[in-house]
Amino acid sequence: MGPGGESDSTVADFIARMDRLPRGRHGLSPEYVARNQRERLIAGLIEALYDVGYQKTTVSLIGQQAAVSKSDFYKHFESKDDCFIAAYEMAVERIREHVDLACGEAEGHDWAQRVRHGLAALLDLFDAEPALASIVLVEGLRAGRGVYDRYQAALESFVAYLREGAPLSPTGAEVPEATAEAVVGGVASMLGRRILAGEGEHLGQLFPESLEFALAAYLGAEEARRITSAG
């Protein structure tokens, strides 16, 4: 992210802010402009991907979205895939920061409340930025091995959140080891399928269902519903 604590900006603000950069002799250092170009290209790829899909996202289109020339594109990235990986990493990092922050705020609350906070933060972010959700949950999976490993690593970090302080089942039995992974993989897959079904603009609406599903695997359906509807 650019200088001056811009790490919590959205892709849209980012583009808007870039548009306000004075043209020509703006007195900014070449490093700063180069950095902005790189970030603008990443934002451009995410938008292009969301609009037309991976196949039709060309270097020219990314350049157009970012207002960066094709030759400047190649100063920052070797190829579309190279830019894709950078975009993917940035997207995952933003999600992680966002969820981290929310979980930090819920520190001291019980496990279910922490899950609620983390998941709410995740779905709020996806709701505000459907393009971000799409690259992470759909396009990333289709982009081949290098990105798949990053998808897997991203999911793993959420598994750790879920495992931390997870309760025993209501009967006192240990919840199966694979549960946290299955819950995270399940939520990611379900959201991805909803995006494919054309509901990507409304992922926030899936918050109660996602929370209920995640909690039900540990606490049972009734308790999960009680906590979910308690707000």
Binding site: V184, G185, R193, E209, S210, F213, A221, R225
Partner: protein, 206 residues
């Protein structure tokens, strides 16, 4: 072929060759990925003439898609049959899951092709994977214990969770031991319907 086994009818030989080419692409994509797999590798592995491949398929992608489609169909039929011949909702889900894991353990290359490679190889193969998942979502919806008032996306989340666990096992090259996951996955799938910790005993036919 005819010189070796003159007694075999022509259709049998042709069908057998198709199958061999589909097996070959499954093995090769499982070993080295779709991109790296060349027509030359496929015809060599299947021991067929290049012309035979083009007589049967439009090319590499067509063969790949046919192989995925065939394997996913087999997988689905085996799971559906296991559900159909089993009584009781809890037992149905358990039997279906066991049949699925059993198929994967017995077909590691086909499983890797369908459950891992298909997702990222080509847009059409990704679509076949998505359709495959949708069938399992529908099957779970039809077979799962009724009565519980659960979110409408519950089956998508459960099937997605099971798929994720299986995919990781398959990617690690451990498809053969996937049946070891049966009990955990069965509990995971049934818990929302029956209650956590209330899913019945091991449930696997020994």
């Amino acid at each position: 072929m005819t010189s070796m086994r003159p007694e075999l009818p022509r259709e049998f030989v042709a069908g057998h060759k198709r199958r061999r080419m589909m097996d070959a692409i499954a093995e090769l994509t499982a070993e080295q990925g779709y991109e790296a797999t060349k027509i030359a590798d496929i015809v060599r592995r299947a021991a067929v003439a290049r012309k035979t491949l083009y007589d049967n398929f439009d090319g590499k992608e067509d063969l790949f898609l046919s192989a995925i489609d065939t394997s996913l169909r087999e997988m689905r039929v085996i799971v559906e049959e296991a559900c159909e011949r089993t009584q009781g909702e809890e037992e149905k889900v358990s039997a279906g899951l066991e049949a699925l894991l059993d198929y994967i353990a017995g077909h590691p290359a086909e499983s890797k092709m369908c459950l891992v490679e298909a997702i990222s190889a080509t847009p059409s193969s990704a679509r076949l994977y998505d359709v495959g998942v949708r069938h399992f979502v529908e099957l779970l919806r039809a077979s799962a214990p009724s009565g519980a008032d659960l979110p409408k996306t519950i089956e998508e989340s459960l099937v997605g969770g099971v798929a994720w666990i299986i995919q990781q096992q398959v990617r690690r090259g451990e498809a053969e031991s996937v049946l070891e996951l049966h009990d955990e996955l069965r509990q995971f799938v049934l818990s929302p319907y029956l209650g956590v910790g209330r899913v019945g005993g091991a449930g696997r036919r020994k």
